[in-house]
Amino acid sequence: MPEPRVSNRIRRLRFDHDEMTQEELANKAGCTRQTIIAIEAGKYVPSLTLAFQIARVFGMNVEDVFQYDG
């Protein structure tokens, strides 16, 4: 079964939030910088918990940050 594609706007949102660095986002969301890099590159789909934590850093809903492309 093919993996569901989940895209995200994290890179765009980081720049919209005072050019937040990947390191800053990682520290606020409680993950490593490498994980943020992997998520941005579409190589890793985060768990629901981490997705909520990332969305909370930007003060947005999960679906505003992550999109399910089917």
């Binding site: 993950c31 490593t32 994980t35 190589k43």
Partner: protein, 145 residues
């Protein structure tokens, strides 16, 4: 590079180092002399226990550093290490089956195997386990990075 990746490279180094050390010892002193050669037996025990201790100490150092405020291990690392454990398990099982078949075929007529192979199987199990996990971790990062 994440701490887990560093640990994997270290594990790979320890595994390859142990393999080379064992090979060097047995090439220098000969496998068949194990029964009479006390020095060879001593070296074998030291390599076996020493390798395990070195690997255990490196794991302990990593755990101590986890008290820092920066997140060092997250859900992606945990997912990778879980998958790497499966690679490790299959590698060890495969090595045991290879040993079993090879020894059965080689010593079929004698109906018994030299005692040295008990240690070689144990040491190779440890080495395959260390290298298998390290490779599993490195493959995991390659796929998820």
């Amino acid at each position: 590079m994440t701490p887990l990746q560093k640990r994997a490279w270290l594990g790979l180094g320890v595994g390859v180092g142990m393999s080379l050390a064992i090979l060097a010892v047995f090439i220098a002193r000969g496998v068949t002399s194990f029964d009479d050669d006390l020095v060879l037996r001593g070296i074998t025990y030291v390599l076996c226990v020493g390798g395990l201790l070195v690997y255990a100490v490196t794991l302990r150092i990593k755990r101590r550093k986890l008290g820092r405020s920066e997140v060092l291990v997250d859900e992606r690392d945990e997912k990778i290490i879980k998958r790497a454990t499966m690679v490790q398990l299959w590698a060890v099982l495969l090595s045991l089956f290879i040993w079993s078949i090879a020894l059965t075929e080689a010593y079929w007529d004698e109906k018994s195997i030299p005692i040295i192979f008990a240690y070689l199987i144990a040491i190779s199990g440890l080495i395959v386990s260390i290298i298998g996990q390290a490779i599993g971790i490195l493959i995991g990062y390659r796929r998820m990075s």
